[in-house]
């Protein structure tokens, strides 16, 4: 029995196309979840004020470098579980009480103090804590504030990579 080359190739290409389309459809981002928008959104934080995990690790490990104050502004319970080594809990940015706590933590600091905020409670584009905390520090006159960009969460983007952590308990 003879098989024509072109129809056979066509069928195989068709199979590849079908498989690829299935793959694309199942790995697309889920449509049920939409990013946070507005002034509480992390998108309101200027790109120039973001710092990537690798850069922060490098800063932490560089001798003689001016070490920033690391402030976690999300969940206290998650902070107690695990937090970035040397960081301090400064209150949930999405809560008025949290912003008051943040204000207390930075009350005696120079306005030029290098501060890095982070959260990592949930996906970056859904975090309700970082933008309000960043805005609070800007309003208080702090001029050297950056925000750690954790796209997924602290576990995936920091702990899993073996970056330095501590536990409260």
């Amino acid at each position: 029995m003879k098989f024509a080359l072109v129809p056979r190739l066509t069928k195989n290409v068709g199979l590849v196309a079908l498989a690829l389309s299935f793959t694309i459809s199942v790995v697309q981002c889920p449509a049920q979840f939409t990013p946070l928008t507005g002034p509480s959104s992390t998108y309101s934080i200027p790109q120039a004020q973001l710092i990537q995990p690798e850069a922060l690790v490098h800063l932490m490990q560089t001798k003689g470098a001016d070490k920033p104050l690391l402030l976690q502004v999300g969940s206290h319970l998650l902070f107690d579980e695990t937090h970035i080594a040397g960081s301090v809990y400064a209150g949930a940015g999405s809560q008025p009480a949290g912003l008051q706590q943040l204000q207390s933590v930075v009350a005696t600091l120079s306005k030029k103090k290098s501060i890095i905020l982070y959260c990592g409670c949930c996906p970056w584009n859904r975090c309700p804590n970082l933008a309000p905390a960043f805005r609070q520090l800007s309003d208080l006159g702090f001029t050297n504030v950056k925000v750690l960009n954790l796209p997924n969460n602290l576990g995936t983007d920091w702990v899993a990579k073996g970056y330095p952590v501590e536990r409260s308990h």
Partner: protein, 173 residues
């Protein structure tokens, strides 16, 4: 190789690639993975002051959901979990919620507002660490009827995929 056998081989290879490219049960995980390990046992008191013992659900498929009131994606999932509890409960699904809030007041409010039809208890550092470190929410574990974790999801998972896995586990006896 005969043409038919070649086509069969290509199809097999493609299907294998598609399965793995679509992702296994796990999304990116940071903490210790517990997939294929026995689900750590725990006993809590739920928001209705009832005893919540994970071991008591042996024989059922358990969807264990770590969430918090400040977690927006968690709120998206809850009505869907409520629907699944209603739909698949008779087949043996049990949804269990663990709140990682600092205090129960807001949790009780949301529990009532969302009309959750499954037990919810407060979590803590100990329980989080027991489950490999709950370092981001939402975090969901699928536990089979034998008490073994078959899948873990963190972040914003594909809920259609989770539902498909729930159905698979319910049908596996």
């Amino acid at each position: 190789m005969p043409p038919f056998a070649l086509r069969q081989s290509m199809l097999t290879i493609l299907l294998v690639v598609v399965f793995y490219a679509a992702g296994g049960e796990r999304t990116a995980l940071a903490a210790t993975s517990l997939t294929h390990k026995r689900a750590p046992e725990f006993v809590r008191t739920d928001l209705n002051n009832k005893r919540l013992d994970l071991k008591a659900y042996r024989g059922k498929v358990v969807l264990l959901d770590f969430w918090a009131t400040w977690c927006a994606p968690c709120e998206v999932e809850m009505p869907i979990f409520v629907a699944w509890q209603k739909k698949y409960g008779p087949q043996g699904l049990q949804v269990v919620g663990i709140s990682m809030d600092d205090a129960p007041a807001l949790v009780r409010k949301l529990y009532s507002k969302m009309r959750l039809n499954y037990p919810v208890a407060m979590g803590d550092v100990k329980l989080g660490n027991l489950y490999g470190g709950v370092l981001g929410l939402p975090m969901t574990f699928l536990i089979d009827r034998n008490g073994v974790i078959q899948a873990e999801y963190q972040g914003e998972p594909d809920l259609n995929k989770i539902e498909a896995q729930v159905q698979l586990l319910l049908n596996s006896r």
